[in-house]
């Protein structure tokens, strides 16, 4: 073998493994970088008071992230409630009942929905969802709302998460062996009963993880939510009230964060918190999905 070929093999081997290790180490590097930046504020205040205090006054040095965490939790909850039935039923329909033609159409539809930038969803939310909430939905429930609200954020987030969750659910449902369904049909079950008892009951870990990953995605979504959710610092579970989710806080204040002491450290703490929460969610639910795939 020519020495040049061996040399090329060695060099590119090193290049390949370096790239892979770099990419795999990314969460550690990001975590370490953010942690170093967040360390000053974590020394000054206890972790508990940072997370659960609701006093937010950066100019006097009080950083309580609870209003923002609660805002994130509520907007994620609303989006979850909306994605739940849509994704589950569509995934069932697409894997069990639909014509091949519809499946051929749905593939690009899901891809395009997943590929649209979040700012486009934000524009759509501002144009359609916000006025719809303030003019139709809020009066229908007998209240008034400025439109920029948790509900608007939830709807926009739900539309963004649907392709993501739907894709994973379809993958999960596809792993069900046809023989299992045929067996239950031959025992006299209707098609829907077979779906209920075989597809749904047999795939509970897969279904939970798909939604868990959808929730993690919704939790970290920034621009689209920020455009429709109102960005008012207060804690309220009322869907017609405005809120201020954690990612929106980081994105909105990057300009001033260097002019107020500790502010940059506090915002980096917020980013660190976001990273940890989402990484933990992803690691747990991805693990469940990988396990179901192996079976």
């Amino acid at each position: 073998m020519g020495i040049r070929r061996v040399l090329a093999d060695r060099i590119s081997g090193v290049w390949m493994i370096t790239s892979l290790v770099t990419i795999l180490a990314l969460p550690l590097i990001i975590g370490a970088g953010l942690y170093l930046k967040a360390a000053p504020i974590m020394e000054q205040q206890s972790l508990y008071s940072l997370i659960f205090s609701s006093k937010w006054a950066p100019s006097t040095g009080e950083f309580g992230f609870w209003p923002f965490i609660a805002g994130s939790l509520y907007v994620t909850l609303f989006s979850f409630l909306l994605t739940l039935p849509v994704c589950l039923l569509s995934a069932i329909y697409l894997t069990r009942f639909s014509s091949p033609f519809l499946i051929r159409i749905m593939h690009p539809v899901i891809d395009v929905l997943a590929g649209l930038p979040s700012v486009i969803y934000g524009v759509w939310g501002v144009l359609i969802i916000v006025p719809a909430v303030s003019e139709y939905i809020a009066p229908f429930f007998g209240t008034s709302s400025p439109g920029y609200s948790l509900l608007a954020g939830g709807i926009v987030l739900a539309v963004m998460c649907i392709p993501y969750v739907l894709n994973m659910l379809i993958e999960v449902f596809k792993t069900v062996p046809t023989g299992l369904i045929e067996a239950s049909l031959s025992l006299g079950a209707t098609h829907w009963e077979a779906v209920k008892h075989v597809i749904l009951k047999g795939n509970i870990p897969g279904i939970i993880s798909s939604y868990g990953l959808g929730i993690a995605k919704a939790f970290g979504e920034t621009i689209a939510v920020m455009m429709v959710v109102g960005n008012v610092v207060k804690i309220s579970a009322n869907p017609f009230d405005a809120a201020y989710p954690l990612p929106a806080l980081i994105a909105n204040n990057y300009g001033e964060m260097l002019s107020i002491p500790m502010y940059d450290s506090a915002l980096m703490f917020a980013a660190f918190l976001l990273l940890i929460i989402i990484l933990v969610f992803n690691l747990i639910f991805r693990y469940l999905i990988h396990k179901t795939r192996k079976q």
Binding site: G13, M106, P117
Partner: protein, 284 residues
């Protein structure tokens, strides 16, 4: 009893069909709304001119600065992501081909990495930028977006590579080629359609992402010439213009949204076309 069962079945099948079709309607609705709203303000000036004096009060100009900035950042980031992602994906599918467990563990971590939101990458890019003593610039934007899209690139490419039959790899080794030659000349060629899809997907993500460039790329009315100059980006242009109280500027935000949506849709079509075209000659 039988009747209730039949009704339940009818009802749920009908309901799930309705949900599925409504997804197509939602997509159509979003695209129609964006195009309908933005079409009035869209003209060649929007695409071909940078903002002139008083642009943000309704004066003349366009968003060429943002279009160029977004393209620069996405192209630069995609190139870095290709240089990181292609060898990484090939490594998983060539060198590690005998270690199924390691492969799966790596895929598991890559999937988890995909879930990290772009705002976290943005915040990290910002700390990296301060640490290296840079200002918000084209280079900082490119690096941050490259980090964001590399896992996407690897995982998408890897998904296609993993379907390549093991025999091809064995045949190539049996003919006396080194692993590198196998990786780049045989496996890469066979998975070329996957490479195109992955690169275009990563490119589209790079163009459309706002949260990661918010901190790192800055914003300017000029087209950047050097890597250390700040760069405007299309998503941020939409975001900032939409926040304006002046109706004309808001109209332009809608027009910019049309431009961005158009770019993303075109990328999606191109990716589909190439994926089909280059997988035709593959060995099955």
């Amino acid at each position: 009893m039988r009747k209730i069962k039949a009704i339940e079945e009818k009802f749920f099948i009908w309901l799930s069909a309705f949900m599925t079709y409504s997804l197509i309607l939602v997509l159509a609705f979003i695209i129609v709304v964006i195009f309908y709203k933005g079409f009035d303000a869209l003209n060649w000036d929007m695409v071909l001119k940078t903002p002139r004096g008083g642009y943000y009060y309704g004066g003349e100009g366009g968003v060429l600065n943002a279009i160029a900035g977004s393209l620069y950042i996405a192209v630069g980031a995609s190139i870095i992501a290709i240089f990181l992602g292609v060898p990484a994906a090939l490594y998983i599918n060539v060198q590690l081909i005998r270690y199924r467990k390691t492969q799966n563990t790596i895929r598991y971590f890559l999937d988890a990495l995909w879930g990290i939101p772009s705002i976290v990458y943005g915040a990290f890019g910002f700390t990296l930028m301060l640490w290296m003593g840079m200002n918000a610039s084209l280079l900082a934007g490119i690096i941050t977006v490259a980090l964001l899209i590399s896992p996407i690139m690897v995982r998408t490419f890897d998904e296609v590579l993993s379907t390549i039959p093991k025999g091809l790899y064995e045949a190539s080794l049996a003919l006396g080629s080194t692993r590198t030659e196998t990786a780049f000349r045989v496996i890469f060629k066979q998975g070329f359609s996957g490479f195109i899809t992955a690169a275009l997907l990563a490119f589209g993500r790079g163009i459309g992402d706002a949260a990661s460039v918010l901190f790192t790329a800055g914003y300017t009315d000029n087209i950047p010439v050097n890597l250390d100059e700040p760069a405007a980006t299309l998503p941020l242009a939409i975001f900032f213009q939409l926040g304006s109280p002046i109706p004309e500027v808001r109209e332009r935000a809608f027009a910019s949204a049309v431009i961005l949506t158009f770019i993303i849709l075109m990328l999606s079509f191109i990716a589909r076309y190439f994926a089909k075209r280059y997988s035709r000659t593959n060995l099955k």
